[in-house]
Assembly symmetry: C2
Homo-oligomer: 354 residues x 2
């Protein structure tokens, strides 16, 4: 994936500095809008303009099935993946409502749902296979499939950027995918196998124990040691996680702000970082999921998500809420008066702070 | 203020239960939208309807001056209060941009600015005095002034509710008001005097030390022991804090959701709770301020704010961002399909979770 990673360049430090100069002249104590200001400055650098150009939001949701559901790792049957994709294209899911709230175009991409879905204008088919294989027993996919799905995600993000999207919220649907995300994240971070396993959609008790055993069993099958990121993806999947990592690279290469959702999308961010560290300069964390392993992933990325509402739905719901925070912050950036314009004293008292 | 407190009744537990029944049928694992769902259910109970009726946002910003600025407790000169009020009425401040982003009507209320402000349609004059007295040396206001300012805030909130506002974001402007808020909060919570003192707009070093000494000195003047809440307000102020406490009661009495901003508005929430505990059922926390004492106030209220962006501007900026989160959540509540409507399996696997 070296060719895709090479297409990502870092945002301009000169534009970043110019953004801060502007922000520090606005009628507020310097830096008193905290992360709202940081996000505004980063958005300017990403888009290459001060003041920031208008934000156009888009949401990209990748769906796929997981062979590992045969081991009983999820609270829901695997057919819910396809059912929820139909719910997305009909507009009835949480991500639809939140996308409408943000004025975000929503595109759903089938990168590996087990059944064939009826054609729909909001549904892009980039299906690599009818679900991954059961990663407890064998590799989830082939090396060729891993590369294909990553390219599919890259292309989907580039497509949205070409249509004018400047802030891309990433989401996913895939019964079983918190199991794959836990395995992939632990492998990439060098954590013990079960360390990031949690309840997902709601397993508990013996089923949660089984979920841990499945990831442990998979690690025994794979064997010890650090592995190249694409090999980790091949071993545990899933297709939507690979596509999400590709979408992070694709969004970054296109100069879009990329909003990372919860546990599963953050697993994809870990994969994207391993493939292309500079892509992280385009990523924005959104919320801290109720899924316990999310905090560990975020810590490893050095990210402090702005929203803490104990959400654990996925689909891109947290990412879309965070897009709203950036949009509000950009409005303040663009519309606030400077001290000079407003006739407000910027001369702070002697002894008075920064 | 017993008559005002008596006008607040608790939201309906029956409507709350009906809201949860509806939420649990929507296409998502139960409770997987976390606090977004809790807020939606609470909003239904507050408004008395399931599904939730449309949200209409309003922002109410109270401004006043503080005699204690004579002690050098702020990074900015006192005249900035009036200058910023003019900035508000002209639309150039952060709160204006964020109010526009939320489609919120903004009303600014002068309850005690030191200078006389020119009339403006967006500015309500309920001035009690030309700033409080210096609470290091003498009580900040008289008992009659304390009552008058609380009633002014109550009336302003009731007025916005009469105009159709269902979600009220509260904000403030007043150079010196983090000093008053720290003193008021410590007195109400029984904390040692300087425990909640922090940098505010940006004092540090010797100036921050002076700010602590001022609050300690005021506590020595006032003498030990718990005091009735209105007496605490009289002793340390400020006018905008009293008005904010009144606005919380007024919003609650009118059946509005009341969004509490950062350190200063949360001080007012502590005062409102002391006067009328049931008003807390109408309050929504917004963000965790960078002002260190805010976490202590929130802990005492048992509130977990959804936004953590290290903001410390005040004005109602955090409260307005949180209104956007409620609005997005209500949209999901109203627009999401149920499992039946969407044809999605709600039958979770045996062993699967809650």
């Amino acid at each position: 994936m070296i060719d895709l990673a090479a297409r990502v360049t870092l945002p301009s430090p000169e534009i970043l500095a110019a953004a801060w100069r502007r922000l520090d002249r606005l009628t507020k104590p310097p830096r008193s809008l905290g992360q709202i200001e940081e996000w505004g400055a980063r958005y300017c650098a990403i888009r290459g303009e001060v003041p920031p150009p208008p934000l156009r939001a888009g949401a990209l949701v990748f769906a796929a099935d997981h062979g590992v559901t045969a081991e009983g790792v999820s609270a829901y049957p695997a057919e819910v993946t396809a059912q929820m994709v139909l719910n997305f294209v009909r507009g009835g899911a949480a991500v639809n409502a939140l996308a409408r709230e943000q004025g975000a175009a929503l595109r759903v991409v089938d990168v590996g749902v087990r059944s064939d879905l009826p054609p729909h204008s909001g549904l892009l088919i980039r299906k690599v296979a009818q679900g991954t294989r059961n990663f407890l027993r064998e590799p989830a996919m082939t090396a060729a499939e891993a590369e294909e799905v990553l390219r599919g995600g890259f292309d989907a993000a580039q497509g949205m950027a070409r249509e004018g999207v400047t802030a891309l919220a990433l989401g996913e649907m895939g019964i079983g995918n918190t199991t794959a995300a836990a395995a992939l994240s632990a492998a990439l971070l060098g954590f013990p196998a079960p360390e990031l396993v949690g309840p997902g959609t709601g397993v508990e008790g013996p089923a949660l124990e089984r979920k841990r055993e499945v990831v442990e069993g998979a690690f025994r099958r794979i064997g010890p040691g650090p592995r190249p990121p694409m090999e980790v993806l091949r071993q545990v999947g899933g297709f939507e996680i690979g596509a999400l990592a590709g979408a992070i690279l694709g969004g970054a290469a296109a100069g879009a702000a990329v909003f990372v959702d919860g546990f599963v999308v953050t697993a994809a961010a870990l994969l994207a970082r391993a493939l292309c560290p500079q892509a992280m300069a385009y990523c924005f964390p959104s919320h801290l999921s109720a899924e316990p392993g999310h905090a560990r992933q975020l810590e490893s990325l050095g990210w402090e998500p702005p929203i803490r509402m104990a959400m654990r739905l996925g689909e891109g719901t947290g990412a879309l809420l965070a897009v709203g925070l950036l949009r509000a912050g950009l409005r303040a950036f663009v519309e606030m008066a400077t001290f000079e314009e407003a006739g407000v004293s910027d001369k702070r008292e002697p002894g008075g702070g920064t």
